[in-house]
């Protein structure tokens, strides 16, 4: 592996204008495969989710999965695409052991979705429109494991093992038009675009959208041209970019690498590059050449898909609120600052807070609990806050107990302890643990008298008008009552006892 020469990113940006393009593959979470009724399940024993169609055996007939077609249309609609009234499947021919038929069933000239767009909001609020060229249906390939070589790489392997469980899993490939004008925001935009697509397919419920499982995979195209030039430079396509951070890093790396190559007066080789997470760099794959002559032709075993306006409109009516719009609406409803809201989103607690607010808590209280005490405990337990075991209903009930004066904030945390230890609802925990605020003035008066007797000098100061000294007595009372008194009421009673105006 050669070490690539890089130019600093800023320097590259001064000289060149990057043009990006993305192909994002989304695995659908249908129960069965695209063209066969074999199960679409991740992580099972090798070759146990296959049948004759997935193995490409002779004489089999593929049949299209209706749900996969509908999921593809939903993705297209969410990406503001037009939906083809008539489209066909095509064979893309190539030889590779992950594809047992020696062709991938895909779409070529007439994708089911085309001409869309997606507005991407960058971190500072800048909105960048990405044009979508097409989104087409196809099938995934099997999984190869390279044996015998160093570190499981294909180079130097003695042989490879193939698991066809993934063969035939429905895929939607989303292809952008060339993205111009991103400038130095290119790496950030790349990450934000893939994040937005992932969020959309997850929100639609059509994909599990887990990048670490390859449910969403990105190939990133990068080219550079001198500032002011119309013509695109030669591009490279970086594959295997399978995390959001990797997308950002890979685009940045390729920009820096291209700049160095161009600076040295050499032309960029149009080729596939492979991203390596360990070295944070790309290496050359095969050059684009004759091997990429896929000899597409219409798939004779599959008849065309025809969409009617009724069908498409019925699907459109199922579209959930777009994630970006939902975020705007919730932030406005809740009255959070940009910073507060971003923290909530980054903590992955938007859904929990929404449910808590819907269940009757104020937005401020919901945020206080989820971002505060619950997040803190979750961090200690090393789990997601949502998985800690606190339901929105518990938060609402604890807040009501506080509002009614039955418990205070300090007791509320003990109530939470009880709930997490499985002692029941907050009200049940209050009863079982005897956590209610002591509101019996008689009991409080006794504690106050004792506290005053124990600190006669403080009592004297208060009598003399130093009202702020009352805190010491309140503290004493709270200690005796183990925090179960209403501090404000205690203060009132102390002042009344000493005959001082609050």
């Amino acid at each position: 592996m050669s070490t690539e020469t890089l130019v600093g990113f800023e320097e590259a940006m001064e000289k060149y204008d990057p043009v990006l393009g993305f192909e994002v593959h989304v695995e659908l979470n249908t129960k069965t495969k695209m063209f066969s009724s074999a199960p679409n399940v991740f992580g099972d024993e090798p070759n146990t989710n296959v049948n004759e169609v997935c193995l490409g055996l002779p004489g089999v007939l593929p049949v299209v999965n209706r749900k996969a077609v509908e999921s593809s249309i939903l993705i297209g609609l969410a990406l503001n695409c037009k939906i083809a009234e008539h489209c066909t499947f095509a064979r893309k021919q190539y030889f590779y052991p992950d594809t047992p038929k020696n062709f991938q069933t895909s779409q070529y000239e007439d994708p089911i979705c085309y001409d869309g767009w997606l507005d991407i909001e960058l971190e500072d609020g800048t909105v960048f429109r990405v044009e979508i060229e097409r989104a087409h249906m196809e099938e995934d390939a099997g999984k190869l494991t390279h044996m015998g070589g160093a570190t499981g790489r294909i180079q130097g392997a003695d042989y490879s093992l193939v698991d066809y469980n993934r063969s035939g899993v429905p895929l939607v490939e989303i292809v952008t038009k060339p993205i111009e004008g991103a400038g130095s925001r290119a790496p950030e935009l790349a990450k934000a675009y893939v994040a937005a697509v992932r969020e959309i397919v997850k929100n639609l419920g059509v994909s599990d959208a887990r990048m670490e499982r390859g449910n969403v995979r990105c190939d990133a195209n990068v080219s550079l041209r001198p500032h002011g030039a119309e013509k695109f430079g030669t591009r490279t396509e970086t594959k295997n970019v399978n995390s959001l951070r990797a997308v950002e890093n890979a685009v940045k790396f390729e920009i820096q690498r291209h700049a160095a190559v161009l600076d040295s007066g050499v032309e960029i080789t149009q080729e596939t590059r492979h991203w390596h997470e360990d070295t944070k760099s790309t290496t050359s794959g095969r050059p684009k050449s004759d091997a990429d002559d896929y000899r597409y032709f219409p798939e004779p075993d599959l008849v065309p898909i025809v969409t009617t306006a009724e069908w498409v409109e019925e699907l459109r009516s199922r579209l959930p609120e777009p994630p970006a719009e939902r975020r705007k609406r919730l932030q406005a409803d809740w009255g959070y600052t940009d910073l507060e809201f971003r923290d909530v989103v980054n903590a992955g607690l938007m859904d929990e807070i929404e449910e808590t607010v819907t269940a009757g808590a104020t937005a401020a209280a919901a945020r206080k609990w989820w971002m505060g005490e619950i997040a803190r405990r979750a961090k200690l337990a090393d789990v997601d806050p949502a998985a800690l075991g606190v339901s929105p209903a518990v938060v609402v009930e604890i807040e009501k107990l506080i509002a009614s004066g039955a418990i205070n904030d300090k007791l509320a945390r003990k109530v939470l302890d009880g709930v997490l230890e499985g002692e029941g609802t907050p009200a049940e925990v209050v009863a079982k643990r005897g956590l209610a605020v002591v509101s019996d003035d008689g009991a409080l008066q006794k504690a106050i008298d004792e506290a005053l007797a124990a600190q006669p000098d403080v009592a004297e100061k208060i009598r003399g008008g130093k009202v702020q000294a009352v805190g010491a007595i309140v503290g004493g009372v709270m200690k005796v009552t183990r925090g179960q008194a209403d501090a404000a009421r205690v203060r009132e009673l102390i002042l009344a006892t000493l005959g001082v105006e609050g």
Partner: protein
């Protein structure tokens, strides 16, 4: 004569992973040329207003519901494989040199 030459046949043979001798390439170039000519006459008959036909039967939307059906066991799946290991198909090294 149709525009298909020996070089194009050699290219196609390479793409299709078919090993062909010089004699075979010569013969196939001639035979394919005849076929391409025949296809061309069909193209001439169909004007630009006739959409390309991918299927002779006017069928559309043959689809199935998303319900799990027939599945093979790993043993069945591998039963026709030339070689296998660890429940998987075993294939020769994909890259010849490192």
């Amino acid at each position: 004569m149709a525009a298909i030459n020996r070089g194009q046949v050699a290219h196609l043979a390479q793409l299709a992973h078919i090993e062909m001798s010089d004699d075979e390439l010569d013969r196939m170039a001639k035979e394919l040329a005849v076929i391409v000519d025949s296809v061309k006459s069909v193209s001439e008959a169909a004007g630009a207003d006739v959409p390309a036909t991918s299927h002779p039967i006017p069928l559309t939307n043959v689809m199935r519901e998303d319900v799990v059906g027939h599945v093979l066991t790993a043993e069945e799946a591998l039963s026709g494989a030339p070689d296998s290991a660890d429940g998987r198909f075993k294939v020769p090294a994909i890259l010849e040199e490192s």
